[in-house]
């Protein structure tokens, strides 16, 4: 077991669980800015639970992951977690839905044969999982609900923004970070 620290919080990291990176920490910062007191929040693909950990004392947070090791890890970090595939076992509506998706373009040869693959693999274009999310997320949002997500320039940020708009969302860019060979953008998509 490994201990990671961000801001003032320590959290545990188990094997075969996504080791939080710049994308995770950008999402923590965005969630702290955007989630308001008492909201109902759903986090998809929580991994270690790092993002939910920072807002669980502010909001009513539930997290899901398909990776059994991630579920165990998030629970150890104090998160209420459900093992399911994106929205498949979830029927409620939420004020905020948070998703740090697997967004890397991934060929057959690059695919890992472990649960960790689900944290990275966005299909050949990188867009498979985020597009599927965008097509379904509206059914799980309250009328003034919002989505916080992060996407890489390797995936094409503008295409993802356009996909949100095609499904009736407005999109704001909350932050952009350039790291060595890509840019990461945190997006807020909300119903007008």
């Amino acid at each position: 077991m490994v201990i990671r620290i961000y801001r003032d919080k320590e959290f545990e990291l188990l094997e075969d669980v996504y080791d939080p990176g710049e994308d995770s920490y950008m999402m923590v910062d965005a969630a702290l800015d955007e989630v308001t007191y008492g909201e109902k929040v759903l986090e998809i693909g929580t991994g270690s639970g790092i993002i939910s950990l920072f807002i669980k004392d502010i909001a009513n947070v539930v997290a899901v992951d398909i990776n059994p090791h991630a579920c165990r890890n998030a629970r150890q970090n104090g998160i209420d977690v459900i093992r399911t595939d994106m929205f498949s076992g979830i029927c409620g509506k939420f004020d905020t839905i948070i998703f740090n998706p697997p967004y890397l373009p991934t060929s057959d040869e690059e695919r890992l044969d472990t649960w960790l693959n689900r944290a990275f693999d966005g299909g050949p274009s990188g867009k498979d999982v985020i597009y599927s999310f965008i097509e379904n997320v509206r059914n799980h949002l309250t009328p003034h609900g919002k989505v916080l997500t992060v996407i890489s320039s390797l995936t094409d940020i503008e295409d993802v923004e356009d996909k949100f708009r095609a499904h009736g969302f407005k999109v704001d860019t909350l932050s952009v970070h350039k790291i060595c060979f890509e840019s990461l953008a945190v997006l807020k998509a909300y119903l007008a």
Partner: protein, 59 residues
């Protein structure tokens, strides 16, 4: 899992309501048990406090 999570959970196959079956619990939550879908006649296990709502073929 805390019992109030029942409000947001559904069967991943038919999206119908689930019945909670408790085997072991503490003051806070259910530790072991199952979520039963009457319509599909399927039980989704709760183990060590984590409900597993993957369809049987994906578990």
């Amino acid at each position: 899992m805390k019992k109030d999570l029942m409000e947001i959970l559904c069967c991943p196959v038919c999206k119908g309501d689930l019945e909670l079956e408790v085997v072991r619990e503490n003051d806070v939550e259910v530790l072991d048990g199952a979520l039963y879908c009457k319509k599909c006649n399927e039980r989704y296990p709760i183990e060590d406090g984590i409900p597993n709502l993957l369809p049987p073929e994906l578990r």
